[in-house]
């Protein structure tokens, strides 16, 4: 009766709560006695705080405290980024007077109301001994350094055919070459739900309400910084209004908020503004890439050379690994060279952002492939099919499941790719130039180790699945409920999913598109374990009609236990009858497959049509087709949203997004959502999203891979390639704005 629960378009379970406002985000909470924090941010790009005049702020109505490097809140060091600490930068706030980047936290004002705290913060006078920051990415490129190994491989990796001395030699020998230099600015994950923290202390310790993708690592990080036993810190994150990577790490403000609440003996809430997010909660680094491709006249790649330099904040931690995540494996070529460097910048902390590495890397590689196709006068889909890889270059292992070729073919057919004009700038409708473009997408199939879930079967006939992950709009609640409902043979509505709490079963959190592969497989295993536990209880409990039977003779199906002689009871009835409130069991995800046997990626192909105005070069996206190969799709409705959201991200990358860092000051000139442009609805075309259905059982029993980031990979290249097809103009510097297209 419920076998089709998986795959069908089940509506998001918390949807009604979200649209009616019943869903409470961290900033919505108002525990009694609440005080409000407001951050004071540095107005110089590098230097030392020499004095803080808090007198006026302290005299301002309602202000309770002004914390600064000279009146700090004690935090404990010794935690650096590791699997156990998710601290977002390599320093702790207010513990020294150093200013490492413009917009760094240099103070926290706490007051009775939000408005009073904000006013107090405006009155704090900070005196700096300023030094010039290193904030000019272009100027820093020559000083770029090695970041060390990447994914266990050297940062400069040569996979050369026997006898080929260098990638340069391989390129020189290739009759047709194409490529160029591709650049993109820093970007910011700025979810609409601002980062918010509410810290409440009681005898049990600290409860921290925090919009986070990773409740359990946050709790461990906060406990370490506050010098608390981890058992005394609980992080709650019931709803998260978007994260995109920016809510993965624990930033400085929750630490200060928790410490202030402890110092003041009152709950404290700090909500940071969208403007503050541009410096406090991390950026995607700028990236400068060169790609050179060499091919034979029939389009067979002979050499792929891809070198990337990414910015990296002196505050740490994450840089875009553009070449190793893309050109390393996407195409079959006898000679591949990928290299990565980092240019250190006095910039806001560099952090994760949707498809880190693949986002810039796919833009460069897939643009270069389009340039090569143009040089060869070959259809871009055909070029990709001719260079299709079935084993990982240099390692020879196959993919667990790969149907990218089907994505190309099906996508081309759905889109009507055969109507594409090979000659750029040759199709016009009135004053509009029309262009088609395509690109490939690939994102690793990740699965975390040690992910645990618990399933409880209740006497009321319902079930509950729980794990310490998050639902940041991804549909994780819905997926977990559906997976467990399917295993238990219950209607989806009868299975509640509980997450967003650090005390729930072990889970790193929701990131790296690993949620379904990790948590859903754990939940499924836990459901099986709970059924086994139910059977045990049924045969052991003296009041049970199944008492004394061999567990092997008791069968669970569709919510009922049956046994010999017509014994039959719904599990809820049984538990009620024997007066047990519920049975539960935990289990974990199976370990990911051995990397020596398989590589695991999700794949996709994007096709898009653009219009460019012949006079003003305004760009309009007309339609987008994406065909996705991500194994088994657990819930097509939320999966579609994930891909669509990823595509909107790609549109932002292609046409709009970029933080403008002033070279002299390190200040972000457009640190607000009026000037940092993201697509609005009018910019988003009709999406035709199609999922292939090839369960990847080499990856996990369930056959599901990740989809959260895939839509972002390659979509910007598809747009840029379509713009070239429309206009004959190749723009290699993102975002492609009007001024770069005309002329």
């Amino acid at each position: 009766m419920t076998a089709e629960i998986l795959g069908r378009g089940r509506a998001r379970v918390e949807g009604p709560a979200k649209v009616t406002g019943a869903a409470k985000y961290a900033a919505d909470l108002h525990p009694s006695g609440l005080a409000y924090g407001y951050l004071v941010l540095a107005t110089v790009g590098r230097g030392t705080v020499t004095a803080v005049d808090a007198e006026a702020a302290l005299a301002s109505p309602g202000v309770l405290a002004v914390y600064s490097p000279f009146n700090p809140l004690k935090l404990y060091g010794g935690i650096v980024h590791s699997d156990q600490s998710f601290l977002g930068q390599n320093w702790l706030p207010l513990q020294d007077a150093e200013v490492r980047h413009h917009g760094q936290i240099v103070g926290l004002v706490v007051a009775d109301t939000f408005e009073q705290a904000r006013r107090g913060a405006a009155l704090v006078r900070v005196v700096y001994d300023a030094r010039p920051p290193v904030a000019d990415f272009a100027a820093a490129l020559p000083n770029a350094v090695s970041p060390g190994p990447i994914n266990g491989e050297p940062d400069v990796l040569d996979l050369l055919a026997p006898g080929v001395p260098s990638i340069e030699a391989a390129l020189a020998a290739a009759p047709v070459r194409a490529g160029g230099t591709y650049t993109q600015p820093p970007k910011n994950p700025v979810p609409l739900e601002p980062h918010a923290t509410v810290a409440v202390w009681d005898q049990a310790g600290l409860t921290l309400h925090l919009g986070t993708q990773a409740a359990m690592p946050s709790a461990l990080t906060v406990a370490a910084a506050l010098g608390q036993d981890p058992a005394r810190v609980r992080v709650l994150s019931e709803h998260v209004g978007g994260g995109f990577g920016g809510k993965l790490y624990t930033w400085a403000h929750p630490l200060l908020t928790a410490a202030a609440a402890q110092a003041l003996g009152r709950p404290v809430k700090t909500v940071i503004t969208h403007e503050q997010m541009f410096s406090v909660t991390g950026n995607r680094t700028p990236v400068h890439q060169t790609v050179e491709l060499g091919a034979s006249a029939d389009g067979a790649l002979q050499a792929v050379k891809h070198e990337a330099v990414s910015g990296l904040s002196t505050s740490g931690l994450i840089f875009e690994q553009a070449a190793h995540t893309t050109s390393r494996y996407l195409y079959k070529a006898p000679n591949i060279h990928v290299a990565q460097k980092v240019a250190m910048l006095d910039a806001p902390p560099s952090t994760w952002m949707r498809a880190p590495g693949e986002e810039p890397g796919s833009f460069a590689l897939e643009s270069a492939m389009d340039e090569l196709a143009a040089k060869l006068n070959l259809d871009p889909v055909e070029l990709r099919l001719r260079n299709y890889s079935t084993v990982v270059p240099g390692r020879g292992v196959p993919w667990s499941s790969k149907h990218l070729d089907e994505c190309y073919r099906l996508g081309a057919a759905r889109f009507g790719w055969n109507r594409r004009a090979q000659r750029p700038g040759s199709v016009r409708e009135g004053d509009w130039l029309i262009g088609y473009g395509m690109a490939s997408a690939a994102y690793p199939g990740n699965q975390f180790p040690y992910t645990m879930a618990k399933v409880r079967l209740r006497a009321d006939g319902g079930a509950e699945v729980s794990s310490a992950t998050a639902d940041l709009g991804t549909g994780m609640r819905t997926v977990l409920s559906s997976v467990v409902a399917e295993r238990l043979g219950l209607p989806g509505e009868r299975v509640a999913a509980v997450l967003g709490d650090s005390v729930l079963p072990m889970n790193y959190g929701a990131f790296a598109s690993a949620g379904t592969a990790s948590t859903a497989t754990a939940a499924r295993a836990a459901a099986s374990a709970a059924v086994a536990q139910l059977v045990q209880v049924a045969v052991q409990n003296a009041a049970s009609p199944f008492h004394g039977l061999d567990p092997k003779d008791v069968v669970y199906a569709e919510g009922r236990l049956t046994g010999p002689g017509g014994l039959d009871a719904a599990f809820g009835e049984l538990l009620t009858r024997i007066d047990v409130s519920g049975v539960e069991a935990q289990d974990g995800s199976a370990p990911p497959p051995d990397a020596r046997n398989f590589a695991v990626h999700s794949f996709g192909a994007h096709f898009c049509e653009v219009r460019v105005h012949a006079w003003t070069s305004e760009v309009r996206l007309r339609r987008f087709t994406s065909v996705i190969d991500a194994g088994r799709i657990v819930n097509e409705r939320t999966a579609r949203s994930q891909i669509a959201g990823g595509l909107v991200f790609g549109i932002g990358q292609a046409l709009f997004e970029g933080s403008v860092m002033e070279p002299a000051s390190g200040r972000t000139a457009n640190a607000n959502l009026a000037e940092y442009l993201i697509p609005v609805n009018a910019d988003v075309p009709v999406f035709d999203i199609q999922f292939l259905s090839h369960p990847d059982t080499n990856f996990n029993e369930f056959g599901a891979r990740g989809i959260g980031e895939l839509g972002t990979v390659g979509s910007a290249a598809a747009i840029a390639n379509a713009l070239f097809n429309a206009t004959g103009r190749r723009v290699r510097d993102l975002p492609v704005t009007v001024d770069k297209l005309f002329g």
């Binding site: 408005e115 006079w615 000139a669 609005v680 910019d683 975002p735 001024d739 005309f742």
Partner: protein, 323 residues
């Protein structure tokens, strides 16, 4: 944001009586409250003028008269405005977002402040916000800044779309103050920055904008507003063109042309208008006229594209109107 007093004025006289150099009138609040939150303006008291009437959208013999407190959305959707002055309706529709247009008034729109990022960030210098402190936009992030009417003190654009349309139509603003009523052509109402960019217009202390009057112009029915920006909606103009055209048998009898996103105030192109009058409208004549009318553009480091984009946008607009 500083704590402030709030009072609702009941009559214009009441509003004038409450006025001091440290008060501000509040209409829709979409500019004022925003700037107060940023600490850019810090009035001691806010005088709410929404109770003053100052309403009405009327077309008569003399032309169109719109009360200063009419909301942008109501004016944009008014059938008479859409039919007689499409350039006005379109300029409003292309402004801000539906939510803001529902809140924002016509008077407030004309008096909105520049979107220059330094003006809005109190941690930086800005001559307009703090006279004499400097103008970082001269060499800083100035992609959105002006190419006409700039000075060494200030290069900020006037951000209103509506004002561009109204200047093209020779609109006048009606003012009322403690010393009485007067009327000023909107084009003269705005000041060039010169060496005192903090003075943006001709408004005297305590004065209210009460209405905007647009003289009758039969050929305004053939008018349009074209706004070019990086994304399709919810953004200020990179460049914009307001045009009205009287063309018969392919010959231009009369034309009005004003441009936005490029001037320190709404920028009329009289030389281009002059060059077009009596000419056949072709791509070549339009281009020549627009080039003549924009020859004095002075681009900055990051907005060098604006004169060319403006010219193309203007030619496109003229040809679309003429065709």
């Amino acid at each position: 944001m500083r704590a402030f007093e709030y009072a609702a004025a009941r009559t214009p006289a009441d509003a004038f009586a409450r006025t001091t150099p440290r008060t501000a009138y509040l209409a829709g609040g979409t500019t004022l409250v925003d700037l107060m939150k940023l600490g850019v303006v810090e009035p001691d008291a806010v005088i709410d003028i929404n109770g003053l009437g100052l309403r009405g959208i009327r077309l008569d013999r003399d032309g169109l008269r719109v009360g200063a407190l009419e909301r942008m959305s109501d004016v944009a959707e008014h059938p008479v405005v859409a039919a007689e002055f499409p350039v006005v309706a379109q300029a409003l529709q292309a402004s801000a977002s539906p939510q803001i247009r529902n809140m924002a008034s016509i008077g407030g729109n004309l008096l909105q402040r520049t979107r220059c990022g330094y003006f809005r960030d109190v941690a930086t210098a800005c001559n307009k916000r703090q006279p004499g402190s400097g103008c970082p936009a001269q060499t800083g992030a100035n992609r959105g800044h002006a190419v006409f009417g700039t000075s060494a003190s200030c290069v900020a654009t006037h951000a209103s779309d509506l004002a561009v349309a109204l200047v093209a139509l020779d609109a006048r603003v009606e003012l009322a103050g403690p010393a009485g009523r007067r009327e000023v052509p909107l084009a003269d109402f705005y000041r060039l920055p010169g060496d005192s960019p903090q003075v943006e217009n001709d408004l005297r202390p305590g004065e209210l904008v009460t209405a905007v009057a647009v003289p009758r112009l039969a050929f305004a029915r053939r008018s349009t507003y074209l706004k070019v920006r990086d994304r399709q909606s919810y953004e200020f103009a990179l460049v914009s063109v307001a045009a009205a055209l009287d063309v018969r048998n392919g010959t231009v009898r009369d034309v009005r042309l004003a441009v936005g996103g490029v001037g320190t105030r709404p920028w009329r192109l009289p030389l281009a208008e002059q060059a077009l009058r009596g000419k056949r409208l072709t791509e070549a004549t339009a281009r020549q006229a627009v080039e003549a009318g924009t020859a004095d553009a002075r681009p900055l480091a990051f907005n060098a594209f604006k004169p060319a984009l403006l010219r193309r946008t203007a030619v496109r607009t003229l040809l679309a109107l003429g065709g």
